[in-house]
Amino acid sequence: DTAVSQTPKYLVTQMGNDKSIKCEQNLGHDTMYWYKQDSKKFLKIMFSYNNKELIINETVPNRFSPKSPDKAHLNLHINSLELGDSAVYFCASSQEYYGYTFGSGTRLTVV
């Protein structure tokens, strides 16, 4: 019974396309996150979101937008995809300040 699930696991798409990555958590957590993993295995936070507040990392291009239809979902929408967007994206959720659960990642390849 997966706690934080991301779909798709792999996504290959052409430059200029618009795509979405979905994330769902069944833990009842209040806060969800999106991270981008770079080539050095560093995880850079992109967004954090709970029912009340969206916090955006100012270094994230505005082509990226989080969409949360409800508390259990935080989808990542990307417009006009660029080659540099190729990476692994992780979704995570938390309830307490330190309690984190990560999804398994989505490998996005832009060609």
Binding site: K41, F42, L43, V88, F90, G99, Y100, T101, S104
Partner: protein, 111 residues
Amino acid sequence: DQQVKQNSPSLSVQEGRISILNCDYTNSMFDYFLWYKKYPAEGPTFLISISSIKDKNEDGRFTVFLNKSAKHLSLHIVPSQPGDSAVYFCAASPGADGLTFGKGTHLIIQP
């Protein structure tokens, strides 16, 4: 089914002593292991890694040990410093394909 387990949600260690954080995994396909450190309100930052062809990797005060037969790895911090207080995540990867995270261990360094 958790493939990467950190069974201690928290650990308290006196400053100057050794901190030992443990991680167990179940997937025999994992061949690359990483430790991340996370401060509040920040994303996890990469700390140290080890490939399955090694049983030890050292970087300054941080040493990671891998016991493949027991499917166990540990992170040793010597000597522990106040700035080491954070949440530590163990992660594992089958080659270059994604990461599976543990749930984290909150390390508290006491003066």
